[in-house]
Assembly symmetry: C2
Homo-oligomer: 221 residues x 2
């Protein structure tokens, strides 16, 4: 995996010449800011830091965003859009509740390895204004409800052991959300490995099917 946003920097060149399209530059600001927010947190990232990395000065940023918070909010919006996309896919897919949950874990885990996705669960939404906070909380609630409904479906169709769906959803969401706290794009673990093992262990559990015998061990691929 050679080119990973950090090292070779495509978007850092966006401000090389003066007149180019604003859309690209706005995007570059956003990408850079998201990166910094993940590196140092939103609060510890100053507008100057963002400007510096783009090799411009602070006030230039205000041509593309009204204020710092708007940048943060936009990160949330892009991230939640990624999540909603995959959620719609899964919901429309046929299958038992358990399969949906499994697909959810897999897809969601992958999103948690993408910067904008990571922002959604790692950044502190308490830094948002009340209105923006309400919007973001709404997105998050929607995700939680979606997962919870998959679990309830599974209990209803018999693919999932009866349990408190609310707690189960928190458990799964927690495991996956936490990825954005420790995942490193350049790290040893690939997104694919993480996503697939998470999907398996969270649905099937750690426990060996029964006792210690290899009695009816299924083909483990």
């Amino acid at each position: 995996m050679p080119r990973n946003a950090t090292a070779s920097a495509p978007h850092l060149k966006a401000f090389a010449d003066r007149r180019r399209d604003p859309a690209t530059k706005r995007g570059a600001v956003l990408k850079t800011a998201a990166q910094l927010f993940l590196e140092k947190s939103y609060a510890r990232t100053s507008m100057n830091d963002v400007a510096e990395r783009l090799k411009i000065t602070k006030p230039a940023l205000y041509h593309y965003f009204r204020n710092k918070e708007e940048i943060l909010l936009e990160c949330y919006r892009l991230g939640t859009a990624l999540i909603e996309e995959t959620l719609n896919d899964i919901a429309s897919r046929c299958g038992a509740g358990l399969e949906k949950v499994e697909a959810f874990i897999y897809s969601y885990a992958n999103v948690m390895t993408v910067n904008f996705g990571r922002c959604v669960m790692r950044l502190d939404d308490g830094d948002l204004s009340p209105e923006a906070l309400a919007e973001v909380r709404n997105y998050k609630r929607k995700i939680d409800r979606r997962l919870r409904s998959f679990i309830q479906e599974g209990i209803a169709d018999g693919s999932i052991t009866p349990c408190d769906a609310k707690i189960a959803a928190f458990s799964i969401a927690g495991a996956v959300n936490w990825i954005c706290q420790w995942y490193e794009p350049e790290g040893a673990l690939s997104a694919e490995e993480i996503a697939s093992q998470f999907a398996r262990t969270l649905t099937q559990g750690l426990a060996r099917p029964n006792g210690s015998g290899l009695v009816h061990k299924e083909s483990k691929s």
Copy 2:
């Protein structure tokens, strides 16, 4: 459980009269600060906020702590002490790896519902100085290693399905750590309910033992 630190405030009276023991007052500052850090985050909690809640003035706080960071660090220390305590219990206990993991989840989940425990995983350790950060990271690494070793034990003794112990540990730790993000002491879910269901579903999985775990299950529904 009627008296829950928030409503009836025992430690908020610590500064009622002037000369009392410093230890109690220091503890009151700590408790109040931890509470505020969880309510508003460390960064958004000013020393004035802490003082105000204790009905004293900001400089008075500096009789008990050298600076704001020392308060934060102390929260981490008390929290990690709670965790280590339970970890030692479990490690010394006999049992298969899976049982240890289960016990870990149960105990750790309970710690995550206690304010100082919540601080450990919810507060942003990036606010600490490099030295303090190293100390805290060290605590956290120890916890992770402990969990990972339980899992490896389980794989070795046959109680746990072979898997990548590192990823499995992240998954479990994530689910449990996330509790401190959503748990509300006054909320509908009790610590006991959460801890026991977490211990069960994370070890046994969601899937119903027989019938649906497999991909080739024909799932009508």
